[in-house]
């Protein structure tokens, strides 16, 4: 399938800081493309440049053949944008907000009306459409925030961490919505720092860190990056820096990271180091409650490539 989004040699500098550093990727028409990275990786900056809000320091972007340099209006017409922040007018109702965003994309009359109704239906808020957005819960606001980006049925949808800070129920609703939209043919660029979301949704994934794409491919291709490695998850109480360093020093350990009482160890052969690992932990005074060996996931890929955890 033809590429609908092309990003070539993209660089964005803010003074000294290089927020986006020589990024290249393409998204095929109808694809669900994931951009995964920790806080400050440069995901929002990349999306802002695609949606013509920021001018790149270097590089070129085209969407549906329109260049961000010369054909901004045409390019923006093909896009739907769901910003990371909830960007709605709090004193307008959900229906008024949606109608406004629809009008900005040139919808009017009966077309606008049905688009607004459809979007409200999709957000599951048709019965509360006349209420001011400021009275909504966080999850409801998120849903309207998404609805406002899709009601004009864009060719390409850019979603910047659409599930941040919401309850699991709203989150599932949003994930299903995004999947449905993609199934109906919409190309989606989905940004997140939750690897589960990206694993579940995306056909292809780019992993970003410090402004660079450090890996790109399908989930399986990315798993191959860590080759035949295993991930050993150890449930422990407190993990001190000392423990972490001691484990990292074990021969055969390729990476260590900890998150809330769990320690993840990346290794080419779990059998050969398991005994040594437990012994090291006990001698360091860490209290081990369980040990599991799992298949590598995106977290392990990130760990392998950067030596640190995706979420901290």
């Amino acid at each position: 399938m033809a590429d609908i989004v092309e990003v070539r040699g993209l660089v964005k500098r803010f003074g000294e800081l290089t927020a986006v550093d020589r990024v290249d990727f393409t998204i095929a028409e109808g694809e669900m493309f994931g951009l995964l990275g920790p806080n400050g990786a440069g995901k929002t900056t990349t999306i802002s440049m695609i949606s013509c809000l920021l001018e790149p320091t270097e590089g070129e972007i085209t969407v549906a053949g329109h260049s961000i340099r010369e054909q901004q209006t045409a390019l923006k017409r093909t896009l739907g944008v769901v910003p990371q922040e909830i960007a709605l007018y709090p004193t307008l109702s959900a229906a008024e907000n949606l109608a406004f965003w629809g009008r900005m994309y040139g919808l009017s009359g009966a077309k606008l009306k049905s688009a607004v109704e459809e979007a409200l239906e999709l957000a599951g808020l048709a019965d509360r459409s006349k209420e001011r957005v400021e009275k909504y819960s966080g999850g409801m606001k998120r849903r309207i925030n998404i609805a406002a980006g899709i009601l004009h049925k864009p060719k390409v949808l850019l979603m910047d961490e659409p599930t941040v800070g919401i309850d699991p129920q709203s989150r599932n609703h949003i994930l299903e919505t995004v999947k449905d939209l993609n199934d109906s043919g919409m190309t989606v660029l989905y940004t997140s720092h939750y690897m589960e979301e990206v694993e579940y949704l995306c056909d292809r994934i780019a992993i970003m860190d410090h402004g660079r794409i450090i890996a790109i491919g399908t989930l399986n291709e990315l798993r191959d990056v860590v080759g035949g490695m295993d991930v050993i998850s150890v449930s422990v109480g407190e993990v001190s820096e000392g423990v972490l360093a001691a484990v990292g020093a074990i021969n055969g350990v390729k990476g260590v990271n900890r998150s809330e009482g769990t320690m993840e160890v990346l290794t080419p052969g779990s059998g050969s180091i398991l005994g040594k690992l437990v012994a090291t932990l006990e001698s360091e005074g860490a209290h081990v409650t369980s040990v599991t060996v799992t298949e590598p996931n995106l977290e392990s890929v990130f760990l392998h490539l950067t030596g640190k955890s995706l979420r901290d």
Partner: protein, 396 residues
Amino acid sequence: MTRVFHIAVKDFKILIRDKAAFLIMLGMPLVLIFILGSALGGVGESESIDIPVAIVSVDSGEQGDVFADAIADVEELQDVFNLAVRDDLAAVRAEVERGDLTAALVIPEGFTAALEAGEPVQLEVLQDPGSEMTAGIWAGVARAAAANLSAGQIMRITAEGLLAEAGVTPGAVGDQGTGDGQVAFDAVTIEQVEVEQEKQVSMIDYYAAGQTGLFLLFGAMFGAFGFVKERREQTLARVLATPASKTEVVAGKSLGIFAVGAAQFFVLFFGTRYLFGVDWGPTPGGIVLIGLAEVFAATGLAMTLSALGRSERAIGGIGPTVIMLFAALGGAMIPVEMMPSWIVPLQSVTPVYWAMGAFLDLMRGEAFGTALAPFAAIVALGAAMFAFGLWRLKYE
């Protein structure tokens, strides 16, 4: 173009739902106009001031009483004066001395005889030394009346002249001196009475003009709030990610601010007129022209404030300071005539100065044409502020 319109409609909706904006842009000026206007000069009775005066004829002939009654019958005089025809000169004199009567006109013994003989007659004006101004007006009435006694309708002219003269400073009436004024009959010319055709602008009218001139600028602050809020809450970025251009966004937001200001102006204009009886003068078209020009200036100021202030806090500080400075310099708080001369060169940079001047001139009955120069000045200032704002504006 339709995007400009839809952005304006959206901003209009948001602004009129803002309770703070509503209170400051409409509630405050109306309350201030009412309080200042009624504390400093009666509301609703701007036309009937009710100055107590008396006419006394001690003439033995008929003409003295006819003259006295003729003056007492003039309706316009009754609006202003509490006018009584009396016959006890001593009592009247005592009341004037006590201040119970502001002035009295005395028609002397031999008035009829002198008229018949075509000889000069002297009318005497008794006045309360503490009320030179009203007594002076009263002397003017006497002069005008006496200058052409034969025609009854001349009284009407006199009365109109008198009302005109209500705006005149005490000195302008002239020669009644202190204490008992002597008016030489044949030395009087009627022009003296008609010196100025200015109608008096009452206190409530003055404050209606001043507070309107002042509070129309507050639209600028709320407009700038709206801009900063959109920038902070990222709706501005979101609009710019749609096919809308920066030009469309700025035009739409400006149109929204202008529309809110125009609505505010019409509410203040009709509100002061029908609630408080403010007399905006015989040329409402001129008032509307100036009002809308000032709303345009407020729109320009909104752009400047949006560019200068990064946050609502900053704009909440700069905005009212600039607005109050503009208003004070422009004469919205105290009349420009009362300000020191070094201020004069500064006044022309405030739109309020031009608006106030034009409002007051139009209230005094001057023609539509007098509003054109101030209109041009206000629009020019507004355009300058708009251009500056546009130049410095940050979109993220």
